[in-house]
Amino acid sequence: MNWITNYVRPTINSLFSRREVPENLWKKCSECGTMLFHRELAENLNVCTSCGHHMAITPRARFQALFDNGVFKEVAVPEPIADPLNFRDQKKYTERLKAAQRSTAEKEAMLVAEGEIGKTPIVAAAQDFTFMGGSMGMYVGNAIIAAAQRAVELKRPLVLFSAAGGARMQEGILSLMQMPRTTVAVEMLKEAGLPYIVVLTHPTTGGVTASYAMLGDIQIAEPNALICFAGPRVIEQTIREKLPEGFQRAEYLLDHGMLDRVTPRTEMRDELIQILRMLLGMEPALKGDLPAPGTPDNAKDGETAPSGA
């Protein structure tokens, strides 16, 4: 025994133990403050079990819950040229990209996959807000084009989950050009007569909202998602007045006729299956058959009547 074991070790230990419990096992709901056990939260698709607040979910976790048995195949996205403008603000763009790749363990801000939901073959794309704010640059544009092309090739609908702060400034005009590029992708689906369903998640703003995220055949949003072109802060600065409660939130947009539906994440899968099968002229999904064991909403499936009309 010496001072190192007596003093330093307990201090170090306490530091680590203090950090481990709240950060890894428990998560505080940012809305109601309830401490949520991580496993329970994940099983509920990162929706607070106490107040229903929708927290961010990674594209991978979303796909695992969305596709039958959590099985999906990633669709390859053509790699764009890196850092086309040699952009540098306080940091180099390439450094920001690497940092985002390290922290998310993903290559970029969008994941594209093909698979089945309720035995309905689809292509899905999901944007990752944790990756540089989900911002739309060349890669995201390529991902949406790849998703549309794959959907056309397989004659499947495309379901797209949007989440973005807008265009990726570090790619300058080329990020802006993703607005027409992704719109071309949407046109491909339209001309092939394939359903294109957009699920808008928190937040979907800027150039993303003003292109592919607002061009769906059907527009569904997650509850309380911020959906806008110009953000509330910019508007308050422009018009110099306080904005009403709930302004630019999903329910507000629904009231103003900008969305078809607002649907909780936990009911989204069933709803997508139901809508897609009708649009595709397929028989209703067999409830007892679905979904296979292991998927989070397994327990309540079969007893819950399909939502919506």
């Binding site: 764009p80 300058g172 050009m177 071309v184 046109e187 003003a210």
Partner: protein, 320 residues
Amino acid sequence: MTNYLEFEKPLAEIEGKAEELRAMARANEEMDVEKEAAALDKKAADLLKSLYADLTPWRKCQVARHPDRPHCKDYIDALFTEYTPLAGDRNFADDHAVMGGIARLDGKPVMVIGHEKGNDTKSRIERNFGMARPEGYRKAIRLMELADKFGLPIVTLVDTPGAYPGKGAEERGQSEAIARSTEKCLQVRVPLVSVIIGEGGSGGAVAFATANRVAMLEHSIYSVISPEGCASILWKDAEKMREAAEALRLTAQNLRELGVCDRIIEEPLGGAHRDKDTAIKSVGKAISGMLADLSKKTGDDLRSDRRQKYLGLGSKGLAA
């Protein structure tokens, strides 16, 4: 009375002195100042040339936003005949930030649509400084549909700080209106040419400038975000707009290199506002040239060329 930009201050001084000398001479018959005044003129001309020889991106932004720069209305009045404005989105309102209608260019009917910023306090307010609301984009969509139906080529003149960030604009679906306008640009089976005459501000510009050919005036800009906005987000300091303007590569020259701009229209020395007639004529020539290039193409080709062009964008970056 010339409005001088900040970086033109030294020029203002010299031109002011020359003017002062001449005014004195006019008041006093015996004075002969022409020699000195001419020397000052020469000095001013040299300075103007050197100032504009290599404008920094931020200075280009200032020139692009110059209050005396010819605006959409100036181009329409000078270049087109029989201009017949068409108004309204058939839904909610007529947006005065967007003007458009049928007109003749070189005798041939076309549809012309553009953002108008206004040129004095009254008209600027009426035009909302060229910031369109959803109604503006929906009017444009309607006019593009009309042009498509009757086979009229479409000319768009882009000059906007961006779409208007307001409460009503958001409630009435600003993003959807912009998205549909871009979509309409990609759908039409008639030639669609666009000229960025001043500021090409973000989504508000894309909604009109998704064209078969995009030309830019030499000192115009086209960007995903304003340099001030970019500076306040990435530098956390709106005063870093010079750095942001540099980093964004928003000049016509950069965009030509990136393939976003197809053609640069030369401006008179000192910018379009110093010689409006010449600038307007150059734009007219460019529009006629671009439309002539496209006149032989079929509707399907025009549409698929446009799409291919945008799908292919971004395959080349800037040289390091």
